[in-house]
């Protein structure tokens, strides 16, 4: 029953069954936040940490996050790694191919402002924010798995606070 208690619902037993009251907004947000399937989009060093986070010790799956290889099936891009000028149009295409609602986590210094490649690099995009809209930034080079988990939890909180009206507009 533990999980039922955490759900944003009000339930009451009546003879022969029970009644559950909740708002559509809450249950939709809840469902969305707890099943964020992410697109495997690792381009560089940060991807190795993303893999570690997905593997045994840190175990992404317990947040309801499973990797998907296709943008059509995923809700979230974790942009892990340097985005070069050659890669940038592809990132945009992948983002466009995803179904709404979609979210973006920018993992690592490179995706925030070019990271260690800000100076003197002729081929690295200085941040991905001007390519796709970003919801959560995770600094670090590379961020530890714990920070990535924290970033995902932040995103889940953001999603749960969303109003139905907000995503109608989108």
């Amino acid at each position: 029953m533990g999980i039922i208690k955490k759900l944003p619902i009000y339930s009451e037993k009546i003879p022969g069954g029970g009644i559950v009251t909740t708002s559509v907004e809450q249950i939709l947000n809840f469902a969305q936040a707890k099943s964020l399937w992410y697109l495997l989009f690792g381009t560089a060093c940060c991807a190795i940490e993303l893999m570690c986070t997905g593997a045994s010790r840190y175990d992404f799956d317990r947040l309801g996050m499973i990797f998907r290889a296709s943008p059509r099936q995923s809700d979230l891009i974790i942009a892990a790694g340097t985005i070069t000028k050659k890669m940038a149009p592809r990132l945009r295409t992948l983002y466009d191919q995803m179904a709404e609602p979609r979210y973006v986590i920018a993992m690592g210094g490179c995706t925030i402002k070019g990271g260690p490649f800000y100076y003197d690099s002729y081929s690295v995009e200085k941040g991905i924010e001007h390519i796709i809209p970003v919801d959560v930034f995770i600094p670090g080079c590379p961020p530890r798995p714990e920070s990535l988990l924290e970033g995902c939890l932040t995103l889940q909180k953001q999603i749960q606070q969303r109003k139905l009206a907000d995503w109608q507009e989108k």
């Binding site: 070069t84 050659k86 100076y119 003197d120 081929s123």
Partner: protein, 156 residues
């Protein structure tokens, strides 16, 4: 074969082609004229005493007055290694391809052409390689290269 023996062997057998250049204790660096490059490479590869069959690396360098192409060669059977340097003028640098000798040179040469603007003669596929397809800002590894969104590291 030790480095000393290798040096004296090359100095006796390749007198007209290679000139020795002082390098570190661990390396042997020889200079060769651009016109002789392919002949020398073929000789080095087929010489039964040397058998340089392994192409380790090719690097370019821009010293602002001239360009340099440095070939790092190795021999798997004899377990020796040498470097060969070709000095090119800053205007119109052109060099012959060595991919007939070592196919491995293909990509390195493409890279050198793309980043330094050193033209490679007889290369079978001199097309865009590392930079994105619409790149038209010149040769980025040259020292005098600049672009609007290129931010230099501040002087310390």
């Amino acid at each position: 074969m030790t480095n000393e023996e290798l040096k004296s062997y090359i100095e006796t057998n390749y007198t007209s082609l290679l000139t020795h250049n002082e390098a570190g204790k661990y390396d042997l660096l020889f200079e060769v004229d651009a016109v002789n490059l392919v002949t020398v490479c073929e000789k080095l590869k087929n010489d039964p005493e040397l058998l340089f069959d392994y192409f380790c690396n090719l690097s370019g360098a821009d010293t602002t007055e001239k360009f340099e192409a440095i070939y790092n060669l190795g021999s798997i059977k004899k377990k020796i290694r040498i470097d060969i340097k070709v000095v090119l003028p800053h205007e119109n640098p052109v060099i012959d391809s060595v991919q007939t000798v070592w196919p491995a040179a293909n990509w390195y040469e493409r890279e050198m052409w793309e980043l330094y603007g050193i033209h490679i003669n007889n290369h079978d596929n001199l097309t865009r390689f590392l930079l994105h397809d619409e790149w038209d800002e010149g040769y980025p590894m040259r020292k005098d290269w600049d672009a609007p969104d290129f931010i230099r590291f501040p002087d310390l």
